[in-house]
């Protein structure tokens, strides 16, 4: 997951790397589902299968020093921002070696060294803090950008509106990335928003908006780059609207009684971001199998790593409460 050089679009060699990264996330998420079902993983888990291009395309576009805030659906963002699968898996197993040292869990993944300020289990909770981080960058004259991920459901909560308003008013270097998968848990967009184009909500603050197909990682990358450039230049925050698809349930185990299975199947066949890129790159079956084997091994190794990790001592619970 090396950082690419800064440019407006990705060369083909990088795209192979991108494919690998997306596949790694996919296999990681599938493994998480499997291990959860096997009863090995505690807590509440949300995978981002189908949304890999958003995480990878956006995070590739970031520069060192940029920071992100993530959501309850955080594994992809976390891997894409550079956390090693071992550390992520270890966290899901509640181990000291985890990226939050066992204190956080799936909904609270942090990796501050790599600019991941934390996943947030409160919908919208991270947004004003991204405004604030960007404010700090602006006050100190640092050429850094703060970026928040969030879902379509999050555009209904007051926090979202307040955070965007403040960011635009103060013209801080922030980017707000909507991963619009058209669902908030079981609630379809038509039941949670009276408008069909959620970009309108950012325009209401005069914020520049960019829209992109969230299944096309190249487009995502280019769009994010553009947004980050504007923000970094000091031209104010940008709202990036990515249309994407949640291929699975809201949480692992969700029976999805509310959703048309055929439609999901069809979307999976036609709009899989990994398959789309693979087709574009014309990766042979053989090469793909080799890639798959490679990332699957990394994922498998992460499980081994996690299982061999150290359980915190019970009393460790009383550490890290205060600085």
């Amino acid at each position: 997951m090396a950082k690419v050089e800064q440019r407006a679009s990705l060369p083909k060699s990088d795209l192979h790397d991108v494919l690998r990264e997306m596949l790694l996330i996919r296999r990681f998420e599938e493994k998480v589902e499997e291990r959860f079902r096997a009863g090995e993983l505690p807590g509440f888990l949300h995978v981002a299968i189908g949304q890999e291009a958003c995480a990878v395309g956006v995070c590739r576009a970031l520069e060192d020093g940029d920071v992100i805030a993530s959501t309850h659906r955080a594994h992809g963002h976390t891997l894409a921002k550079g956390t090693h699968p071992n550390e992520l898996m270890a966290e899901l197993y509640g181990k000291q070696e985890g990226c939050s040292h066992g204190y956080g869990g799936s909904m609270h993944l942090y990796d501050v060294e790599r600019g991941n300020l934390g996943a947030n289990a409160v919908v919208g909770g991270g947004l004003p803090q991204i405004t604030g981080a960007a404010l700090a960058f602006k006050l100190r004259g640092e050429p850094r950008v703060a970026l928040a991920f969030f879902g379509d459901g999050a555009t209904n909560i007051g926090t979202f509106h307040e955070a965007l308003n403040l960011a635009q008013l103060w013209r801080v270097p922030a980017v707000f990335v909507l991963e619009d998968n058209k669902w908030a848990e079981s609630t379809p967009e038509s039941q949670h928003s009276p408008i069909r184009d959620l970009s309108e909500r950012a325009k209401a603050f005069g914020m520049k908006t960019l829209k992109a197909d969230g299944q096309d990682v190249e487009t995502v990358y280019k769009t994010a780059r553009k947004a980050l450039d504007q923000a970094r230049r000091g031209d104010g925050p940008v709202f990036v609207h990515l249309e994407t698809i949640r291929f699975t349930g809201h949480y692992i185990g969700d029976p999805q009684v509310y959703r048309d299975r055929d439609e999901v199947r069809k979307l999976r066949q036609e709009r899989d971001p990994i398959e789309l890129l693979r087709g574009k790159l014309e990766v042979s079956d053989e090469d793909y199998a080799a890639l798959d084997a490679e990332v699957s091994e990394i994922v498998e190794a992460s499980v081994e790593f996690a299982k061999a990790g150290t359980d915190p001592a019970p009393e460790d619970a009383l550490k890290n409460i205060y600085a």
């Binding site: 066992g102 869990g105 909904m107 289990a121 009684v257 915190p312 009383l318």
Partner: protein, 326 residues
């Protein structure tokens, strides 16, 4: 006497009220097709339709406020806040609006709204999905606060809450949803403001709420083996508080333990202990013990989580301390 789970008991109260009364409706995030994140309202959409089983966007403030507004117009909405932690997002409406309208208007306004919510540790949800915040609402005049621990209680108290003309914050505990218990064939209102003595005893009174009622009953059994006779009382409604039942129990046993899952510091147990030391001062043979979560956010890793929240053994240890057998 039919047997219901705690989950079914909540649903039964909601459904019966909705059947008998057009003014009652429910609203909340994902309560319709999905039946709520805990499955409490499963099936209700089919029976009552989307107008009365209203999915809301993720906007705790507006959903609480809309429920208040409808209540002032004479409806009896039951609004679900998916996790107690998100009460922090609706607090303005509950605390500044629902609790105070009647008062600020000099009695003109009635606000018959219920805010149902749930929380609780024991399944590693992490620090933002299992807080126990009932104490906050006990501090706010104008609100009633209920926290039921059994299927019978949760059904009868929810019924009372729905038909109460005041705003009620109604706490459920996630780990209690699957527990079973007998309930009367016909629904019976359980009065808000009456504690329940779950078990009589002579040596120590344990006053417990929510999950800790069950932990305390278990601790009581274990204590009995050591020859300690424990009375277990569940206040059930934290506001108004049935001080009389609590105090008279302690006057009988001369010792008290207060137990809840919430953080001990500034938790509901502080209020109970303060009331008891005041009203039963001369009867107390030992300091009142408080059992609650240690002073920490909820950690994710199961071993740490289990360490932070209290269990039967913590209640038992406290019981033993009060009788000098620690």
């Amino acid at each position: 006497m039919p047997e219901l789970t705690y989950r079914e008991a909540v649903r039964d109260a909601l459904a019966r009220a909705m059947r008998q009364d057009d003014d009652v409706f429910i609203m909340g995030e994902d309560i319709a097709e999905m039946g709520g994140s805990m499955g409490v309202t499963a099936g209700m959409l089919d029976e009552f339709g989307p107008e009365r089983v209203r999915n809301t966007p993720i906007s705790e403030m507006a959903l609480a406020g809309a429920a208040i507004g409808a209540a002032v117009q004479g409806m009896r909405p039951v609004a679900e806040i998916m996790y107690e932690d998100f009460l922090t997002l609706a607090a303005e409406q509950i605390v500044n609006q629902a609790a105070k309208h009647r008062y600020m208007s000099g009695g003109q306004v009635t606000v018959p709204v219920v805010f149902r919510t749930q929380g609780g540790a024991g399944w590693s949800p992490g620090a933002q999905h299992a807080q126990q915040l009932e104490a906050w609402f006990v501090h706010i005049p104008g609100l009633k606060v209920v926290f039921a621990s059994t299927p019978e209680d949760v059904r009868g108290l929810l019924w009372s809450a729905i038909y109460d003309d005041n705003p009620v914050v109604f706490f459920e505990h996630r780990t209690l949803y699957p527990i079973k218990g007998d309930v009367p064939q016909e629904i019976e209102a359980i009065p808000i403001g009456k504690a329940r003595v779950h078990r009589e005893g002579e040596d120590v009174t344990v006053i417990a709420t929510g999950r800790l009622v069950h932990e305390s009953l278990q601790a009581a059994e274990e204590a009995e083996r050591d020859g300690i006779s424990v009375e277990v009382v569940d206040p059930r409604t934290l506001q108004p508080l049935d001080e009389e039942t609590l105090v008279s129990s302690v006057k009988k046993t001369n010792r008290a333990v207060v137990a809840h899952e919430a953080v001990t510091r500034m938790g509901f147990g502080a209020e109970v202990a303060s009331v008891l030391q005041y009203q039963a001062f001369d009867w107390l043979d030992a300091p009142i013990e408080r059992v609650g979560a240690k002073f920490s956010p909820l950690p994710f890793a199961p071993v740490m989580e289990a360490f932070v929240v209290p269990h039967a053994e913590d209640v038992l240890a406290a019981v033993k301390r009060t009788v000098g057998k620690a």
